[in-house]
């Protein structure tokens, strides 16, 4: 069934969105990684150039991915699912749909991160792969899963505007969390920018939060009217 979802999902619109996003990330990666400096200068200060490149790219990729996911998930409540529910029942369809979107989002993240690594490796002399930067990137992943689960729960075919509304809300929340020491908003939506992750228990809270959203997704899908 995941294959079937794939064939419906990869329509012209989605292909164009993904292509544009990949092109955009590639161009940004080239522009940001190649400052107008001599190669010797870059080789001498490799660490600071690496740091600068990763810092800038992580911020850009974070918002590009959020935007892309909101566009991709906009069509998740497509009407083609109804005959599947009639034949296979809600439980199986909801499960396959969740796995499908997690796979697509994971694939997109891997491809974009690969571009972010490969391009500076080709166009610059200073680039070095560093696990620390990779771990920084991994910390962003729960944001995308939280966002996609919220979209799966709240976004419906006749209310597609929610997709952009949620995107804006999450961006505002991430800004607030970056500057504020108050944890109250982090309990509502624990994004990676939250100070909650300064505490070890923050990660447990995140895991429980994700399980809760998955439970809520199944509850809504199994009980809603089509």
């Amino acid at each position: 069934m995941i294959k079937y979802f794939f064939s419906h999902f990869f329509n012209k619109k989605t292909r164009i969105i993904i292509l544009i996003v990949l092109l955009l990330v590639s161009i940004l990666s080239v522009v940001i990684s190649s400052p107008q400096t001599s190669t010797h200068e870059m080789a001498l200060n490799a660490n600071s150039y690496n740091l600068e490149y990763h810092g800038r790219m992580l911020i850009i990729i974070r918002y590009i991915l959020m935007f892309t996911i909101s566009l991709i998930l906009m069509d998740h409540d497509a009407p083609f699912i109804k005959p599947l529910i009639a034949y296979f029942k809600r439980g199986r369809v909801s499960c396959c749909k969740l796995i499908f979107y997690f796979l697509i989002i994971s694939w997109l993240i891997v491809v974009i991160y690969s571009i972010m690594i490969v391009i500076p490796f080709i166009v610059t002399r200073y680039y070095q792969f560093d696990w620390e930067y990779f771990i920084e990137f991994l910390k962003l992943l729960p944001d995308y899963y939280i966002m996609s689960l919220l979209l799966l729960i709240f976004l419906r075919e006749n209310r597609k505007g929610i997709s952009f509304l949620l995107l804006i809300i999450l961006i505002i929340i991430s800004f607030i969390q970056e500057d504020s020491e108050n944890l109250a908003i982090s309990y509502l939506i624990p994004l990676s920018s939250s100070k909650i992750f300064n505490y070890k228990l923050g990660y447990y809270f995140l895991a429980i939060y994700l399980f809760f959203l998955i439970y809520l997704y199944f509850y809504v899908f199994l009980n809603e009217n089509f």
């Binding site: 069934m1 079937y4 064939s7 083609f80 009639a86 029942k89 089509f226």
Partner: protein, 185 residues
Amino acid sequence: MKLIELKNASKYYLDKTFNLTINKHELLLITGTNGSGKTTLIKLILAFIKPDRGQIIYCRNLKFNYLPEKTHLPDFHNAYDYLFQISKLKKVDLNLKLLVDLNIPLYKKIAHLSKGNYQRVAIASTLIGESDLIILDEPLSGLDTKTTNTLKRIIKQLKEEGKSIIISTHNPKAFEKLATYHLKL
């Protein structure tokens, strides 16, 4: 043998209650004016919506082959690939006779199909699979007279094979002779 029984089932927005028994090997024809509750009845049967009053009793966990009023097929596949995928998904062999009977342009991309051909592919995809009940909502939408006759023949054959079928249509004449019951809403 009873498949589904609706006992005083109703929705708050509809001033009707449904008392209906759907048996095996029967063809139920549903007709009615716009807003008379045809789609609501089908949604109740499919358990897409729950009744606000009354109850719906299923003899067991039923499988439905359902053709919605508005169909959505993947654009960039050709008809054969799509139907083959459906048959794989439902774990049955692709019924080539059905494809020939419906005269589907198999190697044309779905995005390039006319409305009638699109509907034929949708009907074929619905009839693939071993289900307990086939539900067709406005199956004649966009079909020409020749294909309407072919569909009548296919449905007659399905009925003779012992399948249970529900058809909701604005054109009852096409299926009146085949129907076991005609429900006018």
